[in-house]
């Protein structure tokens, strides 16, 4: 006897899957730190292992993204616009993709960060990861936002988080400018092709923070529409 119940009208909440996806994205990009530590010590065996982990996490994040899309058919009545949610996940996903590209490219060329900018570079990575974590913190507030009907104090506290996220992103921008200048002053000592890729890596690491900031912007947009 099938059950005739009105509970069928409650669809699966997309909020938890979005948070799970973001958690996975965070796990994935966090590995970059140990990846670059290993590569700076020329330990390419370990670096390869970490690169492999990063790409595994990226795959899992893709899988979560696919599940989430399937759970978001048309005809759902939600407090957040469906298109906004899908955009949010796309932006989260770009972070994992970028992390995978950074590790892949660096390992593929056995690219080493020049001694002169090594410590600044690690700070730069750390700050970009901070931006991702801040975006994750904001995303983890989604269920609280739902509890409060996307109004009031909770909105204020998320807005503050997004402001902090923006200031972290600003910091990574200035770090990137400094790193470029420092690299420019020592670039003649290294292979030109390597240097070209180093600039590319700097750009990509910066885009980790950029994408995080875009998550914040998207959240702001969602809150503004309420």
């Amino acid at each position: 006897m099938p059950v005739n119940s009105i509970l069928g009208m409650f669809a699966k909440s997309p909020i938890r899957p979005i948070q799970l996806h973001m958690d996975k994205v965070c796990l994935c990009s966090d590995l970059l730190l140990s990846f670059f530590e290993a590569s700076s010590k020329n330990d390419w065996v370990k670096a390869d292992k970490i690169r492999n982990d990063i790409s595994q996490y990226e795959k899992q994040a893709d899988e979560l993204k696919r599940e989430l899309r399937l759970a978001l058919p048309k005809g759902l009545f939600m407090p957040i616009d469906r298109a906004d949610l899908l955009e949010l996940v796309n932006r989260q996903d770009k972070i994992a993709n970028t992390a995978k590209d950074i590790a892949g490219r660096t390992f593929g060329r056995h690219l080493q960060i020049p001694e002169e900018i090594q410590s600044d570079f690690m700070t730069y990575i750390q700050r970009s990861l901070d931006a991702i974590h801040q975006a994750k913190n904001a995303i983890s507030e989604l269920d609280e936002l739902l509890e409060t009907g996307f109004k009031g104090r909770e909105v204020d506290s998320v807005t503050k988080m997004i402001e902090k996220l923006e200031s972290i992103e600003d910091h990574t921008d200035s770090l990137q400018i400094k790193l470029r200048q420092d690299l420019l002053s020592v670039e003649d000592n290294y292979k030109p092709v390597d240097v070209m890729f180093l600039y590319k890596i700097l750009e990509w690491v910066g885009s980790l923070a950029d994408h995080s900031e875009l998550i914040g912007t998207q959240l702001e947009l969602i809150l503004a529409r309420s």
Partner: protein, 421 residues
């Protein structure tokens, strides 16, 4: 007349059995809709839900079911058309019960969430309009009933929206939600106790032999509301506030307090469901018993036979005791993304609307009212995702139920007529 004299007790027995089975079916199926939100939000275990449903469905049916029963019994059809041939009304009401019961079974088999109210009203209108004559239906009353099916979900939706918004303002959007939850949740409990007891006292206690003036009723209702709130407060104070849980989710302790409230709204929901839906099973039965006992005279004034309301109540209770558990178990397994703070708003709004409608004698659909209430909370951006496709199907099944109930009733009506004449 002869037919009624000869087959009188047979007819009563037959109608009694069919009515009892119908009540049984209402208990087995509808309980999922009435109690599902409480079980789904994990405020109650299945066992607790069944026990609450058994107690409150019965008291609701017994204490507040009379008004709707009389509408079903004599409000839809103009009795003057049956004075010369009262046996037609007996066949018709029995046919309506058979039709609604059969449709309920078929719908349950396929898992369509139909409304028992819609099927019985459709069936009664059907046999009367086709079997006797279009004029024999009190169309003004029918229009009122069908109109109420549009209005009540709307009303309960608006009430749910307001209750939810008030809980947001008083509790969630404040500096200390836990403190405010402890302070304000008893007020909602008071509200639930007050509305339920007010309707019961003014409408239901007459046939138990208790009479109160309006003022007395209001005072008594306030007292009962306060008692409910005080008991609720005691339980709220016992809720263990776990600061660890709030690290993951800021409002998990607040939700625990709302879960206590949800126990009370679940009682209200069961009570409301019993008070409204028992009539679907016993209204036609009451009409049959009435005619046979009065030797074919159709008197509009006659009181309800004493055993009819309890029979319906027991039918519902047995239905949910025997089958309800299985129905609930399926619900318990499904993950419902409904937190107690949302569930209570929907349930309180739906229960209040249903109980008030029952008090005015309107046979409305409990499920429909609850769907309206849930949509109201959704409008207030309180629910993560609602399946509009499913809601559309539910609405379609309600509309389809009317012609099907009518058609089945017409078929059974002519069959019974052929058998007994």
């Amino acid at each position: 007349m002869d037919i009624l004299n000869t087959y009188g007790s047979t007819l009563i027995l037959f109608a009694g059995i069919v009515g009892f089975l119908m009540a049984w079916g209402i208990g087995a199926n509808d309980v999922a809709n009435a109690m599902g939100t409480s079980v789904g939000s994990k405020a109650l275990t299945i066992k607790q839900a069944i026990i609450i449903a058994m107690i409150f469905e019965f008291t609701g049916a017994y204490l507040a079911g009379g008004e709707v029963t009389s509408t079903i019994r004599k409000g839809i059809i103009d009795a003057s058309y049956f004075i010369d041939q009262p046996e037609l009304l007996v066949y018709g009401m029995t046919a309506a019960l058979l039709a609604a019961g059969l449709w309920l079974i078929i719908a349950s088999y396929y898992g369509w969430p139909v409304s028992t109210t819609h099927s019985i009203v459709g069936a009664i209108v059907g046999f009367s309009a086709v079997g006797v004559g279009v004029d024999s239906v009190t169309w003004s009353k029918v229009v009122g009933i069908v109109g109420s099916w549009v209005v009540t979900p709307l009303i309960s939706g608006v009430i749910a929206y307001m209750i939810f918004m008030s809980s947001q303002k008083l509790i969630f959007n404040t500096k200390d939600p836990i403190k405010n939850a402890k302070r304000y949740v008893p007020f909602y409990m008071f509200l639930a106790g007050f509305i339920l007891s007010l309707v019961t006292i003014t409408k239901g206690l007459k046939h138990v032999g208790l009479h109160f003036s309006t003022v007395e009723a209001a005072i008594l209702a306030v007292l009962i509301g306060i008692i409910v709130a005080v008991i609720g407060k005691i339980f709220i104070n016992r809720v263990k506030i776990d600061p660890e849980a709030d690290k993951e989710m800021h409002f998990s302790n607040v939700e625990k307090i709302f879960a206590v409230l949800m126990v009370i709204t679940a009682c209200a929901m069961a009570f409301a469901h019993g008070s409204n839906d028992v009539a679907n099973a016993i209204g036609p039965l009451a009409a049959v018993v009435n005619i046979v006992h009065n030797d074919g005279q159709i008197s509009a004034q006659a009181a309800l036979a004493w055993w009819i309301l309890p029979l319906g109540g027991i039918g519902i209770v047995l239905g949910l005791a025997i089958f309800g558990k299985r129905v609930m178990a399926t619900i318990g397994q499904g993950i419902t993304h409904l937190t107690p703070s949302r569930g209570f708003a929907a349930e309180l709004a739906a229960a209040s609307t249903v109980v008030i409608a029952s008090g005015t004698g309107l046979p409305i659909s409990t499920t429909q009212t609850l769907v309206g209430a849930v949509l109201g909370v959704g409008m207030a951006r309180g629910i993560a995702a609602l399946n509009l496709g499913v809601i559309r199907n539910i609405v379609i099944s309600w509309v389809i139920t009317l012609p099907i109930g009518a058609t089945l009733a017409i078929i059974f009506f002519y069959m019974l007529k052929a058998i007994f004449s």
